[in-house]
């Protein structure tokens, strides 16, 4: 205090500072008292303010995991950093700092309100992930280019924007340059600019002024949006199809992969019309076959799902019945304890207090009650355990049956698919042979009158002699076969792996459930015992205390 400079010395955030801030910001009243009494674990704090603290650097905030509202205004922060772990953050206040660039906000997807008033920012950027943004303030910065405003078009929920005091908003006399009108035209969902409502007349005027630019922009954007949608759809389809194990088989992808690494094959296509025809025919054939596989996959996927459904239903039913029965035992136990035993104990205590019975008699009575209690607990435990063991066995049995059933289904699926793949291979062999014939014929023709035939450059190397041609042919054929085989293998392996994973998961789940149940039963009964003991012994102490008096 004596030295004002010391107060103003720049600092970093550390545990002590956080603790101090927390302490200063407790709520009032009973809630505050309780909070203070217990202390809040740092990871549960939802809002905190670091204001006028001469902080240089954002740091050490990862301890406050569940922050929702964070204020760091009026400090000396130069860079936005170390906020990645605060994923619950909804409000972020960084105004009156020295930030030059918007960055490192990608993980904070829940952000709704960002304030960057009076900083040194020149470009609005790096905020693509903040789709929920509603309020944004970036006044008094160094944004020169009005085009920056177009960045805000990606926030559908943005309702309030403040950009006052930036170089680009300087001139308000000329309507063409009026920032309000610009905003009105390009941000149709925005309601408030500089915290003043954008009126309808303003918006109409704005649209007239900026009509041309706006249309151009919209056109570009719509294209982008379409592309994005198409991509998203493809991804979604692939995901579903991969569950059927037949992804990419309903289009020409298989064929494309066959020719992807096949240099010779592509070269051979240049032979001429005959080969091109062959190629087209072959392509159609492969497509047809892969579609067949796809259909098989689809069909089996549906029947598998049905089977799964049936299984889950019946297991669910069994578990539910079992659970209900167990709950009945529990309720019965609780009922007897609360309505018979505890009142009995209290009764005895009363009697003792009023000297209606002697201490020995009291002990005797408590003992009988304790015995009843123990018997009851034991009986309940036995019943529950019996139920649980039965259920476990039953579920195990059903799981095995289900595993077998599904295994059979997968096998049939694989067999069917294998049939089609055999056809694909046969088609490949035929294709390869015909292609070879054609190639040889072409080579002979080329050799006979080299002047007439114009050999494409790609083919010269292959058509050196018969051996090279044969080699090339063999190479393409091999590559094709490899692709086909690998696709088949992928399919088979994935389906088998899926089945295995499913069965293991079921078994694990069941074991986990069983363990948990056993734990729960014992836990509950233990707690009952504790309670009972407490009551029973408490009575003793109560009695002795009184006796002493």
């Amino acid at each position: 205090m004596l030295n004002p400079c010391k107060e103003r010395e720049p600092r970093v955030i550390d545990n002590a500072l956080i603790a101090k801030c927390i302490d200063l910001q407790y709520p009032k009243g009973e809630v505050g008292r309780l909070l203070r009494l217990e202390g809040i674990p740092m990871e549960e704090i939802q809002q905190i303010r670091f204001e006028y603290l001469y902080i240089l650097k954002i740091d050490h905030l990862w301890v406050l995991k569940s922050l929702v509202k964070l204020s760091l205004n009026n400090n000396f922060i130069e860079k936005i950093e170390n906020l990645e772990s605060l994923v619950h953050l909804k409000e972020l206040d960084l105004s009156f700092n020295k930030i030059a660039k918007i960055e490192n906000l990608d993980s904070l997807v829940k952000l709704e309100k960002i304030t960057l008033y009076e900083n040194l920012i020149e470009v609005v950027e790096n905020m693509d992930q903040q789709v929920k943004l509603t309020v944004f303030s970036i006044g008094k910065n160094r944004i020169c280019n009005k085009e920056n405003l177009n960045y805000f078009r990606r926030f559908p929920e943005l309702t309030s924007l403040n950009m006052a005091g930036n170089p680009c908003t300087g001139d308000t006399e000329d309507p063409n340059n009026d920032i309000r009108l610009y905003v009105g035209a390009f941000l149709p969902t925005l309601v408030y600019y500089e915290y003043i409502r954008i009126s309808n007349s303003e918006r109409e005027q704005a649209i007239i002024i900026h009509d041309e630019a706006l249309k151009l922009l919209e056109k570009n954007e719509s294209k982008e949006i379409e592309e994005k949608a198409a991509l998203a759809k493809e991804l979604r389809d692939a995901e579903i199809h991969s569950k059927m194990f037949v992804e990419h088989l309903n289009n020409g992808k298989l064929f494309e992969t066959m020719y992807e690494r096949d240099v010779e094959g592509k070269a051979l296509l240049d032979i001429g019309e005959e080969v091109t025809e062959l190629y087209e025919e072959y392509k159609a054939q492969i497509l047809e076959y892969s579609k067949q596989v796809f259909r098989i996959g689809e069909r089996h996927y549906n029947s598998r799902n049905q089977e799964l459904d049936l299984f889950h239903k019946s297991v669910w039913r069994a578990k539910k019945d079992n659970q209900e029965e167990s709950i009945q035992y529990m309720e019965k136990l609780l009922g007897t304890i609360n309505e018979e035993l505890f009142p009995d104990i209290n009764n005895c205590k009363m009697q003792l207090e009023h000297d209606a019975i002697t201490e020995d008699e009291f002990e005797e009575k408590i003992k009988t009650i304790r015995n009843t209690f123990e018997d009851l607990i034991h009986l309940t435990w036995k019943n529950l355990m019996r139920l649980e063991v039965t259920l476990f066995e039953q579920v195990e049995e059903v799981n095995t049956a289900f595993g077998q059933g599904l295994g059979e289904m997968i096998n049939t699926f694989i067999e069917e698919v294998q049939g089609v793949f055999t056809n694909i291979r046969a088609a490949e062999v035929t294709y390869s042979e015909t292609l070879q014939d054609a190639a040889i014929r072409f080579m002979t023709a080329a050799n006979v009158n080299p002047e007439e035939e114009d050999i494409p450059a790609s083919l010269t190397e292959i058509l050196i002699d018969r051996d090279t041609l044969n080699n090339a042919m063999a190479a393409t054929h091999d590559i094709h076969m490899q692709v086909i085989d690998s696709r088949e293998d992928v399919l088979i392996h994935r389906s088998r792996a899926w089945l295995e994973a499913l069965i293991t998961e079921l078994v694990d789940e069941e074991i986990a459930r069983d363990r948990y149940k056993l734990l729960e039963i014992n836990h509950f009964l233990d707690i009952q015992r504790e309670e009972f003991d407490e009551l029973a012994t408490e009575s003793g102490t109560l009695y002795t205390e009184e006796y002493e008096i």
């Binding site: 009973e30 909070l35 217990e38 239903k313 019946s314 149940k517």
Partner: protein
């Protein structure tokens, strides 16, 4: 006398004796004796079986007591006066057909005269038919001398003999109440009063037309059957009137041994659909370890008890059977009756059946109510049964085309049964076949069409009500709007046959303002259940309570239409100190609330006088899937008396225990905004293993929330209590002053509307009359000034004319001025208001401003009206003036003197 004596020895029945005493016309007497002998045969046969003559036998045979009674006058041997009436009676009894055609005129029957021609005369074709029928009858008597007389023709209401087939008058009535055979039969049975036959073993003396039967709303079995048959044929059924023999209960319409056709309405129980689990993955049940032997022994014991019970029930049943058995009837099998035979094949009738026209109930062919069939007929033909009825009517063949079993009256009738041969073109045999097809068919029915006016139809019962005693049940039925409380049906059930011990009373209501549709009272428990239709303001659909204990705190259950209520309330049960409410589809997931009142009496202070102190409130909630099960409260109990709050959370998936939390409320002095949380006042169990114990802050917030909720719940409960007492008050009022609602489309009952309509009509009529009288004399006042002279001189006429014209002109001018004046006044006023507004519009409140605008708008509208009136007046006044001039010129009082003066 000697003749009398000699014949009496041969024949036995009274009718025969009478018929012989009447034998004056030779031919006829012979015929009668023929017929009479045949009709007497069944009785005489029985006598022969008994071995001896009737005179000695009768006293010993109690079976023949009726016959003995009939015989009694013969023993006296009193001579009988043979009169025309007497002869007629005999011929009626024998079913003779009179072959003479009396001239009837000025017939009066039950205040009706003016019968149509067809009622009073037989057409030639009818005469021919009667001749034909008589011929048929004679042949039949000859061939089957043992048979009883056939019912072929009978006197109608005018005393004219008509063939029974022509009495059926197929009529189609376009009422939805009579569109199927079930409905028609019930309607006819309800609508017509049943008269037993005067002579139970003889064919009826008269057969009125269906039209008359409906008009009288009464008739004997033949008339009712004919009426019903007419309707059934009219709506397209293949129905026949059956003449035969029935048991006493049927012929006298005694229903007390018939089970009530209206079943007690049972509560519909919603059956839960059990989801089928595919056997593939069915869980195998654990092996049953119980002793089978012990189970068997137990079962054996149970069986024994069951057997005992069964035995007791058996004896009880037998006793009841005995009690309800039909008493012995000496005329069993001889009582003449008529009913309906409905043949399969038409409309949706799949099986042949009988319909008892007096009760409207359908009976299968093997019913024991009927013991024999003489003949059947419809409007097209008449068939006589040739089969033996002693093995029950179900054993008969009902194929009327089978001539071995049914003797038909007319050949080849009805037309639709004939197989038409398609005549080939140029076929030469055609004429012969043509003549084959030409023969007598049934003449057109003589009766008028049945007519039932709509209001009579709506009244349904002869006097608007009907009381029937069924077995252990009395059914009272009323037409709508007959009873002031809307009662339409009252079924009183008794436990014993004599109807002395009341069991239940079921009542049905219609058109009640309070939407009450049904109520049942259980006499044993005094439990009253009332059912309401949808549409009540409080959405009550069912109300069950004890009639003798009807106060606010009494036991009762009320069901609501939960969809129509904001709070989703479906049911309230009040049972002693406990009130339970059930809810459906609430946003806060509450589905159950129980309020337990303190046993002690109501509070002492005035304000709390009507309130019972609450000791406990239990609320149950459905699972809210948005929350974790360990945070989602399932049962909440506010123990107000013990100042505790018990919370129980939902069960987690596969969990067998649920978390609980108990708060003990701090003393009232510590509550309020400065409440301090004391951790020792709460304890709980956490089902979630490994979860941290809740922090004090969380518990405090939870407690705060619960305390807040408790207040809300208490308020709503008190509110509920108010609603309950209001409801009971309302119900009491509704029951005491029951209003009936009349549909606006109901012409008969909606008196208000009807009166309104009549008034309107009257007004219109008056207006029209007035228009006719509208020949007002415009000159009347002027002539009156001159003392209404009979004629005018030229001068006088001129004066009158010009005075009239001047004044008319003035009138027009005045009117124009008046309108102009008003226009100016209005426009100046608007101007004033506008200036006022421009001066003050900144200080005006929005309401004042709105008022101003409305006023100005109204004024402007008025102004426009005035403007239009003015311009119209200007346009019209010229033509009006001219019309006046013309009128005056043509006026008879002015025309003559003026013309004469001119000339």
């Amino acid at each position: 006398m000697s003749l009398d004596q000699s014949v009496a020895e041969k024949v036995s029945t009274d009718s025969v004796k009478r018929s012989l005493t009447g034998s004056k016309l030779e031919q006829q007497s012979q015929e009668i004796s023929y017929a009479s002998r045949s009709s007497s045969v069944p009785v005489s046969l029985r006598e022969q079986q008994s071995g001896e003559g009737i005179d000695e036998d009768a006293p010993e045979e109690p079976l023949l007591s009726y016959i003995q009674m009939l015989d009694a006058p013969r023993e006296l041997g009193e001579p009988i006066d043979i009169t025309i009436d007497y002869l007629k009676q005999i011929s009626d009894e024998l079913g003779l057909i009179k072959l003479c055609w009396p001239d009837l005129s000025n017939v009066t029957f039950e205040d009706r005269s003016n019968f149509p021609e067809s009622y009073l005369k037989n057409s030639n074709k009818e005469k021919l038919l009667l001749l034909y029928a008589e011929n048929f009858r004679r042949q039949f008597c000859y061939k089957y001398p043992d048979r009883k007389p056939l019912f072929l023709a009978c006197d109608n209401e005018c005393g004219m003999q008509k063939m029974v087939c022509t009495t059926i008058r197929p009529t189609t009535l376009s009422y939805s109440e009579i569109c199927t055979w079930e409905k028609s039969a019930r309607f006819v049975a309800d609508h017509l009063k049943y008269e037993p036959l005067e002579e139970p073993v003889l064919i009826p003396r008269h057969l009125y037309s269906p039209h008359t039967t409906f008009l009288r709303q009464s008739g004997h079995s033949f008339e009712i059957a004919t009426a019903l048959c007419s309707i059934l044929i009219g709506i397209g059924y293949d129905a026949y009137v059956v003449s035969g023999y029935a048991i006493k209960d049927v012929t006298l319409r005694i229903m007390s041994r018939v089970a009530c056709p209206i079943e007690p309405t049972k509560e519909e129980e919603v059956k839960k659909e059990v989801e089928e689990i595919s056997p593939k993955y069915k869980i195998t049940p654990p092996t049953d370890m119980k002793s089978k032997f012990l189970h068997m022994m137990k079962q054996r014991e149970l069986d024994k008890i069951e057997e005992e019970k069964e035995k007791e029930a058996m004896t009880e049943r037998q006793r009841i059977m005995e009690e309800e058995k039909r008493p012995f009837d000496e005329l069993e099998g001889q009582r003449v009756h008529a009913w309906i035979f409905l043949a399969a094949g038409s409309k949706n009738v799949t099986e042949n059946m009988f319909i008892e026209s007096s009760t409207g109930m359908p009976h299968p062919l093997d019913t024991d109510l009927y013991s024999g069939i003489e003949s059947v007929w419809n409007s097209e033909n008449y068939w006589v049964n040739l089969q033996d009825c002693s093995h029950g009517l179900a054993a008969l063949s009902y194929d009327l085309k089978d001539i071995e079993k049914w003797e038909h009256l007319l050949v080849g009738e009805p037309l639709k049964w004939r197989v038409h041969k398609v005549a080939e073109i140029g076929d030469e045999e055609e004429p012969e076949e043509f003549w084959d097809e030409k023969h007598l068919d049934m003449p057109y029915p003589w009766s008028m069409k049945i007519s039932i006016p709509h209001d009579v139809l709506k009244k349904r019962f002869p006097d608007g009500s009907k009381v029937t005693q069924f077995k252990r049940t009395i059914v009272e039925e009323y037409a709508p709007f007959v009873c002031m409380d809307g009662l339409v049906q009252k079924i009183t059930r008794y436990t014993d046959f004599a109807c002395t011990v009341l069991e239940t009373i079921e009542e049905k209501f219609e058109n009640r303002h309070d939407k009450l549709i049904r109520s049942t009272l259980d006499a044993k428990t005094n439990l009253e259940s009332e059912y309401f239709a949808n549409g009540r303001e409080d959405s009550v659909i069912k109300h069950i309570y004890y009639k003798h204990l009807d106060n606010v705190d009494a036991e009762r259950t009320i069901f609501f239409n939960s969809k129509a209520r904001f709070d989703g309330l479906a049911k309230i049960e009040i049972l002693g100190e406990i009130r339970t409410e059930h809810y459906i589809d609430r946003d806060d997931k509450l589905y159950y609330r129980q309020v337990v009142y303190d046993k002690q009496k109501r509070g002492q202070d005035d304000e709390q006088k009507s309130r019972r102190p609450i000791s406990k409130i239990i609320q149950k909630f459905l699972r809210n899937e948005d929350k974790s099960p360990f945070q989602d409260i399932s049962i909440r109990e506010f123990n107000i008396k013990a100042r505790e709050i018990h919370l129980k959370y939902h069960y987690g998936k596969d969990n067998v225990t649920a978390s609980t939390r108990i708060f003990i409320k701090p003393p009232i002095s510590e509550m309020g905004p400065d409440m301090v949380f004391r951790p020792e006042l709460t304890y709980g169990y956490q089902a979630e293993i490994g979860a941290k114990p809740p922090r004090q802050l969380q518990l405090f917030l939870l407690l705060e929330q619960q305390l807040k909720d408790e207040k809300v719940v208490l308020d709503s409960i008190r509110d509920f209590e108010n609603q309950m007492s209001e409801f009971l008050l309302l119900r009491a009022h509704e029951m005491a002053f029951s209003n009936l609602e009349v549909s606006v489309y109901n012409r008969e009952q909606n008196q208000e509307n009807r009166l309104g309509m009549l008034e309107q009509e009257e007004k219109q009529r008056m207006y029209k009359e007035k228009e006719v009288e509208e020949g007002i004399d415009y000159l009347a006042p002027y002539l009156a000034r001159l003392g209404n002279p009979n004629s005018l001189t030229f001068e006088e006429a001129l004066i009158v004319k010009y005075a009239c014209m001047d004044e008319f002109k003035e009138l027009l001018l005045n009117r124009a001025n008046d309108v102009q004046h008003q226009f100016q006044r209005m426009s100046s006023r608007i101007e004033m208001m506008q200036t006022w507004y421009t001066q003050n519009h900144e200080t005006l409140s929005p309401e004042e401003e709105a008022n101003y605008f409305q006023e100005v708008n109204e004024l402007l509208f008025y102004l426009r009206t005035l403007e239009m009136r003015l311009s119209r007046h200007k346009d019209l006044s010229v033509s009006k003036y001219q019309a006046m001039v013309q009128y005056l010129e043509k006026h008879p009082m002015l025309m003559d003197p003026l013309e004469s003066g001119m000339s």
